[in-house]
Chain length 116, copies 2
């Protein structure tokens, strides 16, 4: 299964505390992927997720834009080529601090894919 | 844990049938990631993996360059923004058909991370 990311619809993230964030579920159980899922998040300038935590990890790769990741009590700069690992249960927040779209890949294990 | 991908050493892929391929294990058990691993593969022009198969899947995102993926008996073009899901046990091969580096993210479940 091979396709352009843009062929997957971007859905508004409606979680409380999130603003200006869309997600594309690129690879998940619909394609047969049982172990982990690949999502792409797109943050408008000023957009951000909630500062939240959950029992599963994130594996992140930054594709474009300028952002920050609050994680482990620290503020990390995000730009193209930056990799981030957010361990299970760690409070974290992503935020676009640039003037263009912040685009990241964010992968999670099946445990975090409830309903997908 | 947040870092530039380039801070992770690129190792030559020595698997039989592979040529001109390097891999960076960006996120794996060394960082505490127990469920799946994020690797970056860099193919020199003409570089390729073996045509091979294994019991775990690949989740792939193409970062730059021009390549092909042989999978499912078909030839798929790879370029920036292309997503690929290679199911378990499907024979597959990646090849750089361009004149610059082909760079992809390729993630696998823990079952494929023997020795890491």
């Amino acid at each position: 299964m091979v396709f352009e990311y843009s062929r997957v619809e971007a859905e508004e993230v409606t979680e409380e505390g999130a603003r200006g964030v869309r997600v594309r579920w690129l690879i998940d159980r619909r394609l047969g992927a049982e172990n982990f899922a690949m999502r792409m998040f797109e943050f408008q300038p000023g957009g951000h997720t909630a500062l939240h935590r959950h029992p599963w990890e994130h594996e992140v790769y930054v594709l474009e834009g300028r952002g920050v990741l609050l994680s482990g009590g620290e503020r990390h700069e995000l730009r193209e080529g930056v990799v981030a690992y957010v361990p299970p249960n760690e409070p974290h927040q992503f935020r676009n601090v640039g003037s263009s779209t912040l685009r990241i890949l964010c992968l999670i294990p099946a445990a975090g894919c409830a309903g997908r």
